[in-house]
């Protein structure tokens, strides 16, 4: 059984169709990139899975349980965590408090201290700045904090929306290093929106190429670079 399955998902904003009945499934522990031009529906897809945008129709399942229709916080409680686009950290709270926020819903109180220690080990800069207001961190540090915070909810599936947005390439490398390291360590299932297919190919994993609210290609990220599909997705006739 797949970890996460999306069936005939459609999202509309008024008359505008953001997602037009798309389906795909993700296996446990898989890393899936979602790529495509602006307006392809990448962020809408993540938002619909996380519950922050309501689907017009279709079904989303995690471990066979239906997620569609639940509130974002209820979905987070089931073990699906989202790192929102644009590093939406809690700027006025300290780094440590940001991490604690993600733990409010957990039952395993005893393991929280260990997890914070694990996050500080994975992101030493966060340990160094533990008592600083999160708003004072640099862009890359904020992105790492957003990822660490999402992981503090102890998720099984994590959605990351454009982790490279507005960051220097070197910082993006570091963010991906940490992200993939943590994924391997914890056996996470991960879906990442990434504009740069070259980046996705370098990091490695499966890639879904979107355009006009549909998935137009699905395969190994490394294979995409060599194919004409990308050019078609970005420059071709409207799908």
């Amino acid at each position: 059984m797949s970890k996460l399955a999306v069936h005939d998902l459609a999202v509309r904003y008024g008359k505008l169709t953001a997602l037009a009945e798309l389906s795909f499934a993700v296996a446990e522990g898989e890393r899936v990139f979602i790529s495509g031009p602006n307006g392809a529906g990448k962020s809408s897809l993540l938002a619909a899975i996380a519950g922050s945008v309501r689907a017009a129709h279709g079904r989303i399942e995690m471990d066979g349980d239906i997620l569609s229709g639940l509130s974002p916080e209820a979905i987070a409680r089931r073990g699906l965590s989202m790192v929102p686009e644009g590093r939406r950290i809690f700027a006025g709270l300290t780094v440590q408090e940001n991490l604690m926020v993600g733990t409010g819903m957990r039952r395993d109180r005893g393991a929280i201290a260990d997890d914070i220690a694990a996050m500080f080990a994975a992101f030493p800069i966060l340990a160094e700045r533990a008592r600083a207001p999160a708003g004072a961190l640099s862009g890359g540090q904020q992105q790492m904090l957003a990822i660490a915070r999402a992981l503090m909810t102890n998720p099984k599936v994590i959605l990351v929306d454009e982790p490279s947005l507005g960051l220097a390439p070197k910082v993006v490398d570091e963010v991906y290093d940490r992200l993939t390291g943590l994924q391997d360590l914890r056996g996470l299932t991960m879906i990442i929106v990434e504009q740069s297919s070259a980046r996705a190919a370098r990091v490695g994993g499966r890639m879904l190429l979107m355009r006009g609210g549909r998935i137009i290609a699905d395969g190994d990220a490394a294979g995409f670079a060599a194919r004409d599909l990308l050019a078609e997705a970005y420059f071709g006739e409207p799908a």
């Binding site: 922050s52 989202m82 939406r88 700027a91 604690m100 409010g104």
Partner: protein, 354 residues
């Protein structure tokens, strides 16, 4: 690092303690002067501490400005009047009270708790509707709630005496009685701020989307804070009634709402210390201005401010703070003891056994 977190928590726990000690020192200093006017000012200030600290529990943590908390003070004041006034007095002033209430002669402390409790219950019921709204809509709804309570209280004559005052409340509120409640309010507010719910609520204040993605049910935490907050505003209202001895619905309406908001804004909405600092600063200012409105004699001339200047000057002070120090006097910081006083180092500890 975890040890560091523990120290941080212990440091945070010193905040209400320091604030309580400062208020205690204030009361002791005032009672040493044996000046009755000063003692009244101190009691009034400490009642406002209870009101504004209660107010802060909701507004400070949720970031949602409420205009409705004076209504909770109104409820608390009337509940306390209902349960403590002499039955003979109630028979003439409030003929519509049910028999059990008309006969009630509760101890004043129990009446204050009941006043807070009723305010909290009303907050729970009305908050269930209001707090589902987003920020500004919720604020406007709290204002509507304030207007509703005022209208009902002004017209429900058999129960409330309508717009005429209810008189004869036992005037038991000394600076010490007010201090006791202020300290309880501080302790509860600090405990709530340090709780998981307090942190979750502050997270929703910072970013609603990210908070939901972290599994936070904003509505539930808001409702808890709103209820707790209303309790202390209800108690503050009861204390106000028993301080002046006379209550009417308009003493818990727009001017109280304005004063509570001004105190929170001036001190700084972002911290408990800010709430207390705002009360102290504005209470002193109000006291000075009231005296100046009465007239200050300098040699042979008497100088007096025109009546009403007090409100205008407070409003100007609030505007100036908003312009030049938008986060308030304390800018969201808490007063706390340095780390080394609570058994730790201020710097980052790398002790692997921690």
């Amino acid at each position: 690092m975890l040890r560091q977190h523990g120290i941080r928590r212990r440091m945070a726990a010193t905040t209400p303690l320091i604030l309580a000690v400062l208020l205690l020192a204030f009361v002791i200093a005032v009672s040493l002067t044996h000046d009755r006017a000063l003692a009244r000012m101190a009691a009034e200030t400490l009642i406002r501490v209870t009101l504004v600290v209660g107010f802060w529990i909701f507004v400070g943590n949720s970031g949602v400005v409420s205009f409705g908390h004076a209504a909770f003070a109104c409820l608390g004041a009337y509940v306390s009047a209902w349960t403590t006034l002499k039955p003979a007095m109630k028979a003439t002033l409030l003929p519509g009270l049910p028999d059990w209430l008309a006969a009630a002669e509760w101890p004043v402390a129990a009446a204050a708790v009941a006043g807070g409790g009723v305010a909290a219950l009303v907050a729970l019921a009305t908050g269930a509707a209001i707090l589902r709204l987003s920020g500004i809509a919720a604020s406007i709804a709290t204002f509507a709630f304030l207007a509703m309570v005022n209208t009902i209280w002004s017209n429900w004559t058999p129960m409330t005496g309508g717009t005429s005052s209810v008189v004869g409340l036992e005037r038991y509120v000394t600076p010490w009685a007010a201090l006791a409640w202020a300290v309880v309010a501080l302790a509860v507010a600090a405990a709530y701020g340090a709780s998981a719910s307090g942190l979750a609520l502050r997270a929703t204040r910072e970013d609603e989307v990210a908070a939901a993605a972290s599994g936070i049910d904003r509505y539930r935490h808001r409702l808890l804070a709103y209820t707790l907050s209303a309790f202390f505003c209800g108690v503050g209202g009861a204390l106000t009634g028993h301080f002046i001895g006379v209550i009417n619905p308009d003493s818990f309406y727009l001017s109280l709402t304005f004063l509570m908001l001004a105190m929170l804004v001036v001190g700084g909405i972002g911290s408990l210390s800010g709430a207390v600092a705002g009360v102290m600063a504005l209470s002193l200012a109000v006291e000075l201005l009231v005296r100046m409105e009465k007239g200050v004699t300098l040699g042979v001339t008497t100088f007096a401010l025109p009546p009403g200047s007090q409100e205008i000057i407070i409003a100007v002070a609030m505007i100036l703070v908003l312009i030049f120090r938008p986060a308030g006097l304390l800018a969201g910081r808490e007063i706390m003891l340095p780390a080394r006083w609570v058994g730790g180092r201020a710097d980052r500890t790398t002790d692997p056994t921690s």
